[in-house]
C-alpha cells in the first residue's frame, strides 16, 4: 500500500491582495514521481516554497511525514528540512565554491564526517550525474545543463526523502533535457526517493511522472496518471497539454475593445 509523504489539505494562499491558491488539496505518494503542471505565473514554485516552509499559507495544512510544516518551530523546521531537498530553477550553486565544494557543503554542514569519507561521498554523487571530471570547475565555467546536474548532485548529497524540482527542464537543450529527465526517474527509483516536479514542459513530464496535478485559476483543474490526463475532456486541460495558443486561457490579456481604442474612444 502506498502511503503519502506529503499531504496538502484545504490550502489557501494569498500574496498581498492576490489569491494564489484557493482551498486546494493534494497528496504526494512515497516513492513516486508526482508532477505539478500549469501555465506560467500561477504559483507552481510558490507551492514548493510552501512545502519547504519558506512561505506560510493563509489557511490549511501541509503535512510532511505527519508534521504540519507551517506550525513547526524554526528549529523543528530546520530539522525537517534535512530530510528534504530542492533543485532550484537557477541551480543556485554557490558561485565562490567549486563543484566539489558545492556538493560537499551540505555534508560538511550537517555531519562531522572526516574529509576522506566526504570526498568519497561527493565522488559518488558526482559520478551519478556524470560530473566527476568537472569537480574542480567553478559554477561560472559550467553550461546551464551541467550547472543543473551539479545542483542535483548537491541536492541528493544527504540522501533526502523528498526532492523538489523547480522547472528542471527550463532553458535546457534537448540533450541536457534528456539527461535530466533520465536522472530524475533513475534517482527516484534507485535511491527510493519521492520526487515532486514542477514544470510546464508537457512531453518531458508525461514521460516520467507517475501522477500529475494540473493547476490553474487558483485550483487543481485536472489530475491523474499521464494516460488519464491525455483522456480528460476539460478544455482547459486540453489547451494546456496540446499547447494551443487560444482557448479558455485567452491569448489576449484583458483589454478594452481594440477597435474603440484605435479610434481613440478607449481609455
Amino acid at each position: 500500500m502506498t502511503t503519502n509523504l506529503v499531504e496538502i489539505n484545504n490550502l489557501t494562499f494569498n500574496r498581498e491582495e492576490r489569491c494564489i491558491y484557493n482551498n486546494i488539496s493534494l497528496s504526494i505518494p512515497k516513492g513516486k514521481v508526482t508532477a505539478i503542471m500549469g501555465p506560467s505565473g500561477i504559483g507552481k514554485t510558490t507551492l514548493l516554497r510552501l512545502m519547504g516552509g519558506q512561505l506560510k499559507p493563509s489557511k490549511g495544512e501541509i503535512l510532511f511525514a505527519g508534521h504540519d510544516i507551517p506550525k513547526l518551530s524554526r528549529t523543528a523546521l530546520y530539522e525537517i528540512r534535512k530530510r528534504m531537498s530542492m533543485l532550484f530553477q537557477s541551480g543556485a550553486l554557490f558561485t565562490d565554491m567549486s563543484v566539489y565544494e558545492n556538493v560537499a557543503f551540505p555534508i560538511r554542514e550537517h555531519s562531522k564526517l572526516p574529509e576522506s569519507i566526504i570526498e568519497k561521498m561527493v565522488m559518488m554523487k558526482l559520478e551519478v550525474v556524470g560530473l566527476r571530471g568537472a569537480m574542480h570547475l567553478k559554477p561560472s565555467e559550467l553550461s546551464g545543463g551541467m550547472a543543473r546536474r551539479a545542483a542535483l548532485a548537491r541536492a541528493i548529497a544527504l540522501d533526502p526523502e523528498l526532492i523538489m524540482y523547480d522547472e528542471p527542464f527550463a532553458g535546457q537543450d534537448p540533450i541536457s533535457m534528456g539527461v535530466i529527465v533520465r536522472l530524475i526517474r533513475d534517482l527516484n527509483d534507485a535511491l527510493g526517493l519521492t520526487s515532486v516536479v514542477v514544470s510546464h514542459d508537457v512531453p518531458e513530464v508525461m514521460s516520467i511522472a507517475d501522477y500529475i496535478y494540473i493547476i490553474a485559476d487558483e485550483k487543481i483543474i485536472g489530475q491523474g496518471t499521464p494516460e488519464q490526463i491525455y483522456a480528460q475532456e476539460s478544455p482547459l486541460v486540453q489547451q494546456f497539454i496540446k499547447g494551443e495558443h487560444d482557448g479558455p486561457v485567452a491569448f489576449h490579456y484583458p483589454a478594452t475593445d481594440y477597435k474603440s481604442e484605435l479610434m481613440g474612444e478607449g481609455s
Binding site: 516554497r49 537557477s90 543556485a92 554542514e109
Partner: protein, 257 residues
C-alpha cells in the same frame, strides 16, 4: 485629503516594517557570534574581503589627507609663528574626526556597497533560499560573519588611516616645509592624550556597527532583481554616509563638549 493620510500611514508602516526587519537581522547576527569550527574560517575570509582589500584606498587616502592637512595648516600657522603646533593640529584632527569619519565614508563606498551587492545577488540567484532549504540558516552562514568582520575591521582601518595621515603630515611639514622635527613630535605628544584615542576608537566602532548593519540589511532585504540590487547598493552607501555624519555630530557633542 483622505488619500494623503492613507499614503502617510502606508509610508509609516513601511518605514516601521523595514526598521523591524533590520533589527531582527541585527539581533540574529549578534546572536550568531562565529563559532570556532565553522564560523571562524568564514569570519577570517570576510576579514580579508572586507578589511584587507580595503587597505589600499584607506592607506592612500590617509596619507594624502595628512599631507593636505599639513600643507593647509602650515600656511595658516606660519603667519602667526605657530607652525610648531602643526603636529597636534594634524594629530587631533585625524584621531578625533577625520580618521573615523573618512574611514567610515570610504568603507561604506568600498566594502559596504560590495556587501550589499554580494548579498543581494545571492538572494537574486536563490543562493540564500537554497541555504534555507539545506537547513542552513543564511543569517548565521552569510550575514553574521560579514557583520562581525565589518565591525572589527573598520576601527583597525581607521587606526591605519590616522597613523598614515600623521606620517603624511610629517613628510610635508617636517621633510618639505622645514618644521622642526623635535617640536613637531614633542608638542603632538604633549597635546594628544589617551582620551582622544579612546574617543576616536569609540566613534569608529559606532560607525562600523551602523555602516555594516545597513549594508547587510540592504542586501538581505533587497528586491531580487538587477534594478532592486542597484537601488539597494546606492541606498546602502547614501544612508550609511548620512548616518555616519549625523552620528558623528551627536558623538562629538557628547564627547568633546
Amino acid at each position: 485629503m483622505l488619500e494623503k493620510i492613507q499614503g502617510l500611514g502606508q509610508l509609516s508602516i513601511s518605514i516601521l516594517g523595514g526598521l523591524g526587519r533590520a533589527v531582527l537581522i541585527l539581533l540574529s547576527a549578534i546572536a550568531h557570534l562565529p563559532n570556532f569550527r565553522k564560523g571562524f574560517p568564514l569570519f577570517v575570509g570576510q576579514l580579508y574581503a572586507i578589511g584587507v582589500l580595503s587597505l589600499i584606498i584607506i592607506m592612500v587616502s590617509g596619507t594624502f589627507i595628512g599631507m593636505v592637512l599639513a600643507l593647509q595648516g602650515y600656511t595658516v600657522l606660519v603667519d602667526y609663528g605657530a607652525e610648531g603646533s602643526l603636529g597636534p593640529m594634524v594629530a587631533l584632527s585625524l584621531l578625533r574626526e577625520l580618521g573615523p569619519v573618512v574611514t567610515a565614508l570610504l568603507f561604506a563606498g568600498r566594502a559596504g556597497s560590495a556587501l550589499t551587492a554580494e548579498i543581494g545577488l545571492m538572494k537574486a540567484t536563490e543562493q540564500l533560499s537554497s541555504l534555507e532549504m539545506m537547513a542552513v540558516d543564511p543569517l548565521r552562514r552569510v550575514i553574521a560573519p560579514r557583520f562581525w568582520a565589518g565591525f572589527f575591521s573598520m576601527p583597525l582601518l581607521a587606526a591605519i588611516f590616522s597613523i598614515l595621515g600623521i606620517f603624511g603630515a610629517h613628510l610635508v611639514g617636517v621633510e618639505w616645509l622645514g618644521v622642526d622635527r623635535g617640536t613637531f613630535w614633542s608638542v603632538m605628544q604633549a597635546d594628544v592624550d589617551l582620551r582622544d584615542i579612546i574617543n576616536g576608537t569609540i566613534k569608529s566602532l559606532a560607525f562600523a556597527f551602523v555602516v555594516t548593519w545597513i549594508a547587510v540589511y540592504k542586501g538581505y532585504n533587497c528586491i531580487p532583481t538587477s534594478e532592486g540590487i542597484s537601488r539597494a547598493t546606492t541606498s546602502s552607501v547614501v544612508q550609511a554616509s548620512l548616518m555616519v555624519l549625523g552620528l558623528d555630530f551627536i558623538l562629538t557633542a557628547i564627547m568633546f563638549t
